[in-house]
Symmetry: C2
Subunit: 337 residues, 2 copies
Amino acid sequence: MATKKITSLEVAKLAGVSQSAVSRVFTPGASVSKKTNEKVRRAASKLGYRPNILARSLITGKSRIIGLVVSHLDNYFYPEALELLSNALQKKGYHVLVFMASKTSGNIDDVVDEILDYQVDSIILASVAMSSNLATRCTSAGVPVILFNRTQDDNRLSSVTSDNFAGGKKAARFLIAGGHKRIAYIAGWEGASTQRDREAGFVKELKEHGISLYAYEVGNFVRDEARQAARKMFTADEIPDAVFVASDDMSFAVMDVIRFELGLKIPEQVSVVGYDDVPVASWPAYDLTTVRQPANRMVAETISIILECIEDKETKPRRIQIDGPLVIRGSARISNK
Amino acid sequence: MATKKITSLEVAKLAGVSQSAVSRVFTPGASVSKKTNEKVRRAASKLGYRPNILARSLITGKSRIIGLVVSHLDNYFYPEALELLSNALQKKGYHVLVFMASKTSGNIDDVVDEILDYQVDSIILASVAMSSNLATRCTSAGVPVILFNRTQDDNRLSSVTSDNFAGGKKAARFLIAGGHKRIAYIAGWEGASTQRDREAGFVKELKEHGISLYAYEVGNFVRDEARQAARKMFTADEIPDAVFVASDDMSFAVMDVIRFELGLKIPEQVSVVGYDDVPVASWPAYDLTTVRQPANRMVAETISIILECIEDKETKPRRIQIDGPLVIRGSARISNK
DNA sequence: TTATTTCTTGCATACGAATGCAAATACTTC
DNA sequence: GAAGTATTTGCATTCGTATGCAAGAAATAA
């Protein structure tokens, strides 16, 4: 197996210049004459030379690798975000190293340690939290950490989320305006700031209208648990006439239970409102009214924060909240019946 | 910003040994005495030392990074596969560097070049092809390439797919047994071997029963195009009574058109069979009969090939086809009406 | 105890590219 | 053409770790 390694030295030899010259040709902004540049490029492409990013990283201290920790790829909001993120970073010359955080155990710290081993330029935690201890490690290692779709009470961490509190309020306002009287909520995982904020906003708005939650169950952002929650909620004596579900993903499960297991009509008997606006929400089979998380804008913000941090170490952490609209579709009544 | 870099040298100093000793402690299988080992480990954890993978790679020639090229994260088969892949590799001490191949332009070669820059130990192309020229580059760089869910006529590339031909046959056999008389097909992108094999198997089986395709449209594995295809196919004079769609993803779009735009009943008036068995297929709203691609077994095979190639350069490329069952649900009639 | 073998250890070097510095070359200007 | 400035270039070193080699320590055999 002719495992050839073409190094800058060989290119230099062929081009009749020094290794430094070759390096400079491939270093944007370095001082090289037109002639040398051409000679080197010709030799390089002849040999199929490409700079070794790893070797370069060793010196520059920049790996052009961004570590991404994800745990919920089965929630279709994340594949979309991943795709946007990866594409955008790719355009900027960075690439994404993926780390799965198992949903069960809270071993995020171990995972982040592994990430640091790769000398990543930055870490994105998608819907995942980290220990304060580890945040210290990252900070002192000079690796900026950005929480995506999650916040945390640690002022060293930047975060980008949708405005979950406002989103919760929007959902409530909409259901109230629709004349619903028995309004319920199916919660996500209580450890998630997104869940807490959505609930808080929702409950707050209800309260401001003198309404209190008619029913409450926890789905933990897991479809099966959402199903259970729905079964429990909608087999009671007098069932809710509206339910706000903390994620689209759970909403689909809830709708399926309501329609196919319990034979109820949506939205005639029960209105359902979700959160995320993943692609499936717009499919006619669900046609889900939901609060949109503008993935593209969230990603854009994330990336701008990352690049800023990488270029200028002194940037202080920011917390971005992006407002998302309520997307009105057919899963919830609009006027009072 | 106290950007401290803890190196093996500092650990060595603290532990009162040489840098080599530290290195050996962190190199599995190296010769170190129990005493030294302890001293070093104590010092290391005190300083929070962790070996720099990049520097290590420079010497060993192994980065423990696997490059993954994806292009269809919106088809929910891929997030699932990505999750399985990443998890399994993580357990083996490898990690996945993600590269998005834009669906539109065929710039795969550029992408793979970028991957090679990172000195990856192997490349997985998920549902993506590469030029023969580039395959040469990879081979000569000693980087094994594995096609996932795609084959290609290049005997230097390994591939792992489901048995698409057999899957197509199963779909046909099932529809025939269900007494369908006007059987149609909505194809994926013709450049994909998966598409071609599924179609070939399907048509072959029909032919063996003396049946020919009643209608044919192309959906290119894109939901919108599948919708168009369905509209065209099901507004004809005498519509098909069954359609095999080349992917679940397209199937959902097709079912939505059939039900909600055209007001037809599934499976009473039209039977639909898909391919993939993504999670959504089992949701009651679709309840799609489909040929399963066993993602977990496909991933397991992929990984075993990768590890084998990395350890033993002389392994020759393999082509694995994994048989998947037809999962019978409610979207297709079983008995002749 | 001494000779022999097996483990450990440190030294020095290598991996591939980037960069400060000083020497060399090219370009201006008078 | 000389003097001065701006631009290129090569040399040597550096990044953090792994590893062949030879010397030293420990264990075993005689």
